[in-house]
């Protein structure tokens, strides 16, 4: 009996070792060709770029793609992103091309003009260890930046104040009032002075006339006297 138990244990050990050995011989490592995906998309148009996913390992990689769509904003055009495929399998030692297409709707609603977002290719594995406890299941993935620009876009304009001609209402200050009053006073004073002067001039003229009337006439002296 004891010998049988030892034999069973040996078999279990050998089987576990065999499993470990097999797992070490197979591996899958997801990769991507570097560089962001840049799009210049006309209104009512689309553009497709290629995203290269690479399997470095000797077993297939199952994956799915998540494309983060630019946030929808009311009264603004937002591009849409489509990837083909959305999921699949990358064969060992091979590269798979994902076609990423960006479409720009057509109408006369203004555009923001440019957007940035991110694509994710996430490796899905068939099993994850849990060990019967709270566990975080880890997923390896590859992320790709996307930059989208809209050509011939109607730009969004910020609202500007409307300027109209408004009659200027003069509102003089206290200082200005004082100055005006002072000027008026000065003008009045000068007017009075002028009047007085004029009056004085008039009296003098009258006095002169009267004086002329009262003064005797001087006789003319003969010219012969001296002969």
């Amino acid at each position: 009996m004891q010998n049988k138990n030892i034999t069973s244990t040996h078999r279990l050990i050998y089987f576990s070792l065999a499993l470990l050995l097999i797992s070490g011989l197979t591996y899958a490592q997801l990769g991507e060709r570097a560089g962001p995906l840049n799009f210049n998309v006309p209104v009512n148009g689309s553009q497709t770029n290629q995203w290269y996913l690479i399997n470095e390992g000797n077993v297939p990689i199952n994956f799915y793609i998540y494309a983060e769509q630019p946030s929808q904003v009311p009264n603004e055009i937002t591009p849409s992103i489509i990837t083909v495929p959305l999921n699949g399998t990358i064969a060992p030692y091979s590269t798979l091309i994902v076609n990423v297409s960006v479409s720009m709707p057509a109408n006369n609603i203004p555009h923001k003009g440019s957007w940035s977002t991110i694509l994710q290719a996430i490796e899905t594995s068939s099993s994850k260890s849990t060990n019967g406890a709270n566990s975080a299941q880890l997923y390896a993935g590859i992320a790709k930046e996307m930059f989208i620009a809209s050509t011939n876009a109607i730009p969004i304009t910020t609202t500007t104040p409307v300027t109209t001609t408004v009659p200027v209402v003069f509102k003089p200050s206290v200082y200005q009032i004082v100055v005006v009053i002072s000027l008026v006073i000065v003008i009045v004073i000068l007017y009075i002075i002028k009047k007085l002067i004029d009056n004085l001039k008039g009296d003098k003229a009258l006095a002169g006339i009267i004086t002329k009337a009262k003064l005797p006439k001087k006789k003319k002296q003969s010219k012969n006297k001296r002969k």
Partner: protein, 307 residues
Amino acid sequence: MMLLFSTTVKASSYTSNVIASVSVGGVCFITTTNTLVNFGNIDPTQGTPVSNDIAFADSFGNEPANILVAGTNWINEPGYGSNTFYVSNTLWNPTSASPGVGNALTLFTGFTSLFDTQLQIAAPNPSFPRTQTQLFVGVNIPGGAPAGPYTQNIVPGYSCLTYPNPFSVQNVIATANVQPACFISLSTNAIDFGSITPTNSVPTANAVSVNDPGGNIPANILVDAGNWISGSNTFYVSNTLWNPVTEPTYTGTPLNLAPNLVDTLIQEPAPIIANPTTSNTLYFGLAVPAAQSPGLYTQNVYIENEC
């Protein structure tokens, strides 16, 4: 008297054979019909099928010849640096084959270094005055090979049956354009936080090694996660913290709820041929909120390289 004599004269001919003999030497004269092999764009760690052919022809010989081959190391094309990777990354095969199937090209150091492929080109004859054969080549790009255009000289040769000294024919120029790329592998596919009671926590010391096994440019490490779920019970993702260094306590940056990747600001160094795998470590910790329902909870964590 007239005597009449008659006689019959018979014509006679004499023939004799002339035996001519000449000794015709054996000769082979091999030329290559293409002098350029372009492997195109290739990612590091990837290989092309061994299916680009180098064609050989014999139009003047009269005996078979064996095809020989050797080559130089791969080197950047002028103006693109001085990076190099070894000649043996080029494979040859007498027939078209899948990536990685074939014989490693050896380094050319002189005529005597030409390797006999045992691929034979048949002797021409009056019925077939021109014979030909093909040798197939492919290339594997080693992990960590810097991006850029590379070139290699493949030196074909031949040796005749009766005159086994090797001869070389015109060089074949091979070109390949190594692409920039990055990869990811994780040291584990799960973190076991064990059993935790509400209001308690696990230090941010659970390590996950994030590797780039074979890329050739730096990569940024991004991370996000889902909520913790056990049946209909959940608690929020941000109870999981990450940190670039191990901590003896529960401290670090809360995970974002996916899909909302955050840049950890940790950059994987670019691998090189001498060190084709680089790595960085993320550490994780967890706290369980007060009054959380009991159960076995799991959370999906997404760790991604971006380049």
